[in-house]
Structure formats: C-alpha cells, structure tokens
Amino acid sequence: MTTTAEIRRPRDDERDLFGLTHIGKVRKENQDHFLICTVHSQVTVDATSLPHTDQLDLRGPRLATIGLVADGVGGSDSGSDASRLAAETITRFVASTLRSYHAAGSSNDDVFMKSLTDAVFEAHDVVRAEGAARGETNPMATTLTLVVAVWPWMYVVQVGDSRCYYHDGETLHQVTRDQTIAQHLVDTGALPKERLSSSPFRHVLSSAIGGEEATPQVSRIDLRRSGTGLLCSDGLTRHVTDDEIAAQIRAATSSKSLCHALLDLALERGGYDNITILAARTLLPEAKSVVG
C-alpha cells in the first residue's frame, strides 16, 4: 500500500486553476456559466501620511478558493440567464459571508455547511423570482455545482447534474451524485443501472436551481493528499467516460491542457451540448505524481 505524504497549504501562486466553456457543435447558444475566484481580506487605505502605500501588500491571505459550474435550462435566453443569475448570486454571497469561513473544518462545521446551502437557496429564490417576473410558461432553471475550498477542506454543494470529480493521485472519485429522475430510479431500484444511459429520464433534473425543487447536497473532501479537482457540465460526461477522464488527468501537464484535452474529446464525439470544464491542481514541489 502506498501512502502519500500530507502536503502543506499551497500559496496563491502554487494553485493551477483553469476553466473554459464551449458552445459545442449542435446548440445555437451557450447556456453554461462558470466562475473561479479567490476570497481574501483586503485593506483599503482611506487616508495616510505614508509614502508609497501602493507598495504595501494590502491584500491579505486567501480565505477560500471557489469554483462553480451552472448549466442553464430553458428556452430563449432563460437558460443562460438562470445560470448567470445563480453564479452572480453565489459570487455576492461568498463576498459577504466571510464570518462563517472560520467555522470551516472546526466543530462548527455545520455552521459553514449551513451557510453554503443558504447561498444555494438564495440563488434558487433569485432565479425563481426572475422566472416569475417574466411570466414564461417554460420555467428557467439551472444546475449548480459549487466548490468552496477552505484549506484543508473542499466543500461541494450539488444541485442538478453537473459534476465534481476528485482524483487523489491514483483513483478518480465522482464526488457529486447526479440529481436526475433516472439516477433516482436507479437508486431506488426501479431502473437497472446498465439501462441508465438509455433512459429517457437521464437528463431530466429532479432538483434544479429555479426549478420545482432544489435539494442541495453538501459533501466534504480532505485536500491534504495532493490531487486534482474537476468540475464539468454534462456536455462533457455525455461523451467522455470516467475512465477517460481519469486517464486525461493522469497525463495532464497543467489545468489548462487538461481542460482543453477533455474539451477536444467531447467535440470530436459530436459536442451535442454546451461543454464547461474547470480544473484545479497544486504546483507544490513535494506533491509528486499526477499533480507535478
């Protein structure tokens, strides 16, 4: 049995983060949105006698790294508006809920998890309110896979069927579970697993931001073993298998090359839907194996 040494917290410039989105080869518009951002403290100087405050490092250490993918559902612009609204609401929320970051990983962990689901419900309310204001018969909705990394933990909040994977250096783990009717049927034993991919309910969401029901599921991963995180919309996973994703992660030299290699694979195979891929790796010298 091989054990990987625990790694220290990577500095800001030791993170290798990349994200891309592509319209695909069939759809006329891209209803996916993604965001990668860093939350940190900041000092803003109001007045001073000090010379050269611009040379002072007024940016404090990072509190969290955040990544999200939202895959919009709905006619016209509704889908892309839903995913945009959800992403924007989450962005606003993470800037203002700093006080709960200190609870991450502590015995108050549930406080932090609660604030994450609160953020997701707020996005749900915003999208529903917008949908109601438009009075469309086709509701606007979106998936949302949100990752908040507060060293040494990575929290993942899932609504819908975009996915979060984590490759621990040896094995690929699907962190999130698709919230689709077909997956629900498989889970309850009503549908054999091998017939999942051909089920007409395969892409029907059982939980969606702005939909009838949003049931966010929160999970937590330990980041102290070096690894690679991957977020994607189903535009990738309808064409590319988990084994292929694992192989691409193993062969990757950077987050950027990984995202592009996976995108190319999905496009080669037809690119039926919008494709969004985010990758995160660490560049720590001691973090050997896949993450270099």
Binding site: I36, V39, S41, A47, T48, D57, G60, A95
Partner: protein, 298 residues
C-alpha cells in the same frame, strides 16, 4: 409622539452600525513651526473581504459587489523618535507593519465582543510587538548606533467596539456626545512617577521626565496596553501626537469636538490652534465620526 418613543428611536439609531459612506474620517500631520522634519505618521484604513475573479464566463463580473462588507476600521498615529531620518523611519515601519498585520489577521475579527475576544486582544498585542521587532531589527542593522523608536496608538473599530493599543505618549480620546474621555494613558517616565506617587500631578508638566517614554516601539521596552470601549453614533474618536497636547488642553479639545462640523474641520482647527501657540513639535490629528443621518419626520 411621546418622549419615550423618541428616546427609543434615538437609542436604536445610536447603536446602528454606520455604512462605509456614513463614516466621516480625516487625518492631518504638520511639521509644526520649529522642527525641520516631520517624524509623525498616521493611517486610516478599512479591512474588508474581497473576491478576486481568477476566470469566468460571466459578462460584467466587475459590476458585481466583489468588495465584501467592512470588518474593521483601523486608525493609527506613530510619533517617531531619533536623529536624522531614524524617527520618521521608525514611525513609518511601525505603521506599515501594523497595516500588513491587520490585513492578515482577519480570522480574529469575528471574535470581537464575543467570549473569545481575548484572541482579538492577543492579535492586536502581537501586531504591536511585531512592529517592535521590525523597528528594532532595522535599528540594529543601521551603522548609526542611535536607537530608533516610535510611539504607536492603534485603534481598531469592530462596531460597536473600539479596541485601542497604546505604546508611548500619543493619545486616543473618545468624546461620548457630552464628555471627553482620554482612553489611553501616557507611557512616560513622568506619568509613571505620578502614578506611583513619587511626583505630584500638578508638577508633571514641568518635569524633565514629562516626555521621556517609558515604553516605545523599537525602544528598550514596549509594553502595549490594550483597552476596549463601546462606541456610539454620537461619539467622536480622536487620535493625536503630543505635538497637539503640549499646546491644547483636554477642555479645548472637547470644545472643538462639540462644535465640529466635520472630521476635516475638527482636525484643521486643532492643528491651527497648536500652530498658533508655537507648534513646537510635529502635530498629527486623526478624527473619526459617524453622525446620524438627519431623520426627517421622526
């Protein structure tokens, strides 16, 4: 409307946390009329969370409120001691070190006013001792063996609490709407002699030890003293170097605060008064208020 109602409303308004824009803060430093250089430094800054976007598909992401709500307002005055540039360098180094520190100790802000408040007080004390180490290290590395040192009065407002860390003889005052309170105690040999009963209070001003620091950042000893007071919307906070207080009495300061129309006007009127009376030392004044908005109809 009954009087009781008015009072209830006033007291609610009194404790309402001011928005960023409602804060009226100003700082001013002047070399005075005698000294050739200004060895004082001051700083007023705001600590807040910030979201930095690394990559996104979102259009106009910069129109989002990426600046989070303020966690703290920080104000400081440092009055440098030492020949040539040593004094102002000591004051500058202390101010810069504190600025870096407050940006990085964000995790302790949530403990303000809580049962874990000692973490906050400890963080402030550590910030000051770190400044002490930085100034001492710089002093030791210079060819000129003359020690460089500075006072440091540091105020950190995490509404509705004000934390004050004191080293030396710059001062922090809080005017509560009717009375002026000197929050800090001068850390001078003269004050120490008065406190221990060795020197009558009325002879303090004439004592040769009046301005000799018993504790200084970068000096032989730095003994930061941390205090906490509650602040209200009707209050005014004032920080100053001894260049002000050697010329202007506490009663005069109170009177100027009472009649002040803005933090800027307050700082200028106090500096003008010190200059009129000789301006024997560098004069630094920092004022902060958060006057209640005129609530028409209430």
């Amino acid at each position: 409307m009954t009087v009781a109602n008015v009072n209830a409303m006033n007291s609610t308004a009194e404790i309402q946390r001011p928005s960023d824009e409602e804060r009226d803060m100003y700082g001013l430093t002047h070399p005075g009329k005698v000294r050739k250089d200004n060895q004082d430094h001051f700083l007023i800054c705001t600590v807040h969370p910030q979201v930095t976007v690394d990559a996104t598909s979102l259009p106009n992401v910069n129109e989002l409120p990426l600046r989070g709500p303020r966690l703290a307002t920080v104000m400081l005055v440092a009055d440098g001691v030492g020949g040539n540039d040593s004094g102002s360098d000591a004051a500058r180094l202390a101010a810069e070190t504190i600025t870096r520190y407050v940006a990085s100790t964000l995790r302790s802000y949530h403990t303000a006013g809580s049962a874990h408040e000692d973490l906050m007080m400890k963080a402030l004390e550590e910030a000051v001792l770190q400044a002490h180490d930085v100034v001492r290290a710089e002093g030791a590395s210079r060819a000129d063996p003359k020690p460089m040192a500075t006072t440091l009065t540091l105020c950190l407002v995490v509404w509705p609490w004000l934390y004050v860390v004191q080293v030396g003889d710059s001062r922090c005052y809080y005017f509560d709407g009717s009375a002026l309170h000197q929050v800090t105690q001068d850390q001078t040999v003269g004050q120490y002699l008065v406190d221990t009963g060795a020197l009558p209070k009325e002879r303090l001003a004439a004592s040769p030890f009046h301005s000799v620091l018993a504790s200084a950042i970068g000096g032989a000893e730095a003994t930061p003293h941390v205090s906490r007071i509650d602040v209200r919307r009707s209050g005014t906070l004032l920080l100053c170097s001894d260049g002000l207080t050697r010329h202007v009495t506490n009663d005069e300061i109170a009177e100027h605060i009472r009649t002040a129309t803005s933090a800027k006007q307050l700082c200028h009127s106090l500096v003008d008064l010190a200059l009129e009376r000789g301006g024997k030392d560098n004069v630094t004044v920092v004022g902060a208020r958060a006057p209640k908005r005129a609530t028409a109809g209430s």
